[in-house]
Amino acid sequence: MNTCPRWLCSFMLAGAVLAAGCARKEPALRAPPMRAVEVDLSILATGGIHRSVTTKSTEAFIDSLLEQPDFANKVAPLLLFGEMTKRSPNTPGPGFTLETNREGVLFLREPCSLQEAVQVHPWWDLAATVRVCPDSYQPTRLKDPRGNYCGSVISSPDESSFCGCGPNLAFCYVDGDHRRQVVASMQDELVKTVASFVTRDLPLRTLFTSRETVRDANAELLYLRSRIINGEPVEAVELSTWPKDGKLAARHEAIGGQHAGVLTTPQLLYFRDNPRDRLQMFYERLWCSGPPHHGKVTADVVLGLGTGNVRVGNSNDRVHSWKELAARPVCTGCHARMDYGAQFFAGYREVRVAPFFVTNEVVPGKGPLYHHDIEDPRGEGRLTPLGFAELALAQPEFGRCMVQEVAQHVFADRATPADLLALRESFETEGTLRAMMRVALRRYAARLALPPPVTSRTAALGELLEQHCGECHADGARAFLSAAWDRPLLLKMLTQVSFGTMPKNDSLSPEERARLVDALAVAAFPDSAVRALASGYFQDRLRSLPAHSLPALLRIARGDDAGREGRLGPSRHLIAVPPDLMQLSPGVAAILATEAAASCSDSKEEGLERCLAKRLSWRTLVYARGAED
């Protein structure tokens, strides 16, 4: 039971020590939650409003929500992989699309007569026979004389006459619809695999190391292609017995460590179209490390490389150039991480060149992994995807990132250091998404039951800088505590503190950050009218109330309490908006209004006006804000 007094928790931001103390105890939750809180918790846990879930205590209510299938099936994939669960890769459905002539003969380039056509058992139905033009078949051609693999964009029928569809037409789709089905199966594999692991309450780490995924026959085909390219007989695989809705199954490995959980699903491997982007995406998912926005790449730096060939690769000249890039000042901030990381995935070349795992492309032996730059090595591992995953998951950034993802989902931009600490503890002890969500939702509910913390806004800039920045900036090359704070320096500090770039260790609560920004604004803008403008930008960031995710908002606007997964519509790209940035913008309001109006018009139960008022209530669309709700 809780031993931390409620009044103390409400002032937890007064000091990190007190906050940390509170973080280790779950706050008291005796009274039944208010309805608005229930609604909010339900949306956060299940992506919809589950009115049927009723229990006496908030803890039990949260536990019930997290047992709902929607948590594992809908919320978890979106929370962990965002847009990748809903969008097609840059080069969707690697492979070629066949056409059919009047006689039912399949072809890639030019049609041929029935007499010329050859009979083939296609991969999508090995028991059936189809007729294909000979140039479109080419079962023995797997690689052209220039070394380009059949089935890749670079050897597509438009670019080359060498390749056909390969054995059992494994590189082809019967038509555009078939291709779209395979693309959908790629997405499904990611979503269903996440759902399966979360449902079984497996530690998050296993999601990135397991050989197993949940997939249908279409998704299995994409793995089958790798086996064909690597010279295995296709007869060894029987896709017709694969369950229509897919099954949990281990993936075949040509070499040990070929698979690393969902990282080696085609949806993630080919979501972006080159090895650097792929690695960048992996680091974003595993370490929350995006491209640094603070580099200073100049023409001198780039031209100084003295070559136009700076792509990742394993030939001698390529290795020389990417290693040079990875070590070069400025460039190293991205390329040490990306280019050395790419070596672990050398068997999976870029989608345009070879959308398969090619055994003889694997780099033998062990290799290093870096984080910030070439001066920040994170150990060595076997150069396989699993070797990468094991190294990456062992870094503190992995836990920090999982904590951040859950915190952003539940608290939007209002997580406190105490919240992060509590989540970190849950990650370290249990390591499952459900356990972390339970902690976060309980803290969220408890906070909503309390009045907002009252903190003094005024403080001396010098004291605040010393308190929050002194650890790194008291002396040395980056010292500024004793410097004269001119306008340019103050503006730089204001920008970096306001928008979360500094301090680097997420150590500021929202209230502490606001206080520091206020003090910086006062020093930078003595004129109060100018300062008012600056405060709107730096302090308030022109933001409006944080809103729930697009799928949840659409369900509310359409009046779908729970269960149904509606279409996302043309604004599906909003699925990529991080939870801490999602707001009720004019465009989001317009989307919801049109959806609500369409749904209300269909509904005969209540008038349009009343229905719209209910569906567009801002109190439901945005995160609950506290006791006043």
Binding site: A299, N309, F499, A532, R541, S544, L581, Q583, S601, W618
Partner: protein, 409 residues
């Protein structure tokens, strides 16, 4: 009780709210002529990185180092008034050489974006500054916060970062199909929600949300009286978004608009890839610019009231790689159009210059021409200068770039 900080905060929130038609009708419309401030900002991202030598910064073989790839002869360079354009911009060249009134165009070459990463470059392009964070508001939000009677702060076509003022261009087709009575009901519902947010104790976020709901309602109320959008088949292909853009400005629906087009990211076979995408999109861009000097609304000709900026998030490395492609370069050229842009009384002008390795040369902030020990042009300078052009003090928003005096008419 309103705290000191609340009072400070009210500055911009109030500005944002009062930019809405309901409370801003007392203000004189701005941007009504060549002497006024511009009223609209349009930003077109030519995604992936156009090759400067093929487009806005052509070079002869003799002007560059031997290792610089120039995939054309001197004869292929297009004459454009006193200036030169790359061979992939023939639609633009034809436009400016015509006899009809034209929108002044200025090219600014060799702008340092200081990144070789698309995502960082795009994040910078929509903020018009470097050293950014994804929490930082977009340039359009700032222009929008200072708008006049337009219901929307900004419209975005294509993928872009989300921001508080986001309104996707893809929403319009569904609004086109919505009956007036339904638009009216939707507007009323949103206004009712906004009213409940605007209580005396409202926080800045609540007031901002109320402003957004009212902004959307104002659009819904305006649309029934706006001529319906129709695609003009006489336009070049791939121009529906550009046509919709003109429609939005003509009907005063937004203060700013962002549009991303194409994919000039030619790491493989640069010359043919660049030519392909330029053939796809440059005719539409040229037509768009030509229409600016024809289309008008009650505030005047769009060429007088609108500032257009077009260009890429990054440049292309002057060397070819092993796939005959060009990788990334941290400098890029930009095109600006509109009467508010200074072209020294000519139809067009060029500022900034790149040297034999295609790296930018320092320039004079006054003339925009090369000067020893001059200033190295930065994207931040462009952002600060455009804010100034729109009558907005850049400093309170942290835009501390140099003001490019040569661009100010």
């Amino acid at each position: 009780v309103r705290t000191r900080r609340d009072l400070l905060r009210s500055g911009l929130s109030t500005a944002a709210l009062c930019a809405l038609p309901r409370c801003s009708s007392w203000r004189a419309p701005r941007g009504t002529g060549a002497s006024g401030r511009p009223r609209y900002f349009c930003s077109i991202l030519l995604t992936g990185g156009i090759d400067p030598v093929c487009t806005l910064d052509p070079k002869t073989r003799a002007e560059v180092e031997p290792w610089v790839d120039i995939p054309y002869t001197t004869q292929d360079i297009l004459s454009w008034g006193d200036l030169a354009l790359g061979p992939h911009l023939s639609p633009l060249s034809a436009l400016s050489n015509g006899q009809q009134p034209t929108t002044p165009i200025a090219l600014v070459r060799g702008v340092r974006v200081e990144t070789g990463n698309h995502r960082t470059g795009e994040a910078q392009f929509i903020r018009l500054r470097t050293q950014i964070s994804e929490q930082m508001p977009l340039f359009f939000d700032l222009i929008g916060a200072h708008r006049d009677t337009q219901p929307l702060a900004s419209i975005v076509f294509g993928d872009s970062e989300f921001s508080s003022g986001w309104f996707g261009g893809e929403i319009f087709p569904r609004l086109d199909r919505t009956p007036s009575a339904q638009l009216e009901a939707m507007a009323a519902a949103l206004r009712a929600q906004a009213r409940t947010l605007k209580r005396p104790s409202a926080t800045h976020e609540e007031l901002s949300t109320a402003a957004h709901l009212e902004s959307c309602a104002a659009l819904f109320e305006r649309l029934p009286s706006v001529p319906p959008f129709k695609v003009d088949p006489s336009w070049p292909p791939n121009s529906e978004d550009l046509q919709r853009t003109l429609w939005a400005f003509e009907n005063d629906l937004t203060a700013s608009l962002f549009l991303s087009e194409g994919n000039w990211d030619t790491h493989v076979r640069n010359t043919s890839g660049q030519a392909y995408y330029s053939r796809q999109y440059m005719p539409g861009l040229a037509r768009f610019i030509s229409e600016l000097s024809v289309r008008r609304n009650r505030f005047g000709l769009l060429s007088d009231t609108l500032v257009l900026m077009a260009g890429s998030e990054i440049g292309r490395l002057p060397r070819l790689n092993e796939f005959e492609g060009k990788d990334h370069f941290p400098e890029a050229p930009y095109l600006f159009a509109g009467r508010a842009i200074n072209t020294n009384g000519q139809r067009n002008a060029a500022y900034g210059q790149t040297g034999r390795s295609l790296a930018a040369l320092p320039i004079s902030l006054k003339s925009g021409q090369p000067r020893t020990n001059g200033h190295s042009l930065m994207l931040d300078d462009v952002g600060a200068t455009l804010l100034r052009l729109f009558g907005i003090d850049p400093i309170p928003y942290g835009y501390d770039g140099q003001i490019l005096e040569f661009l100010l008419a």
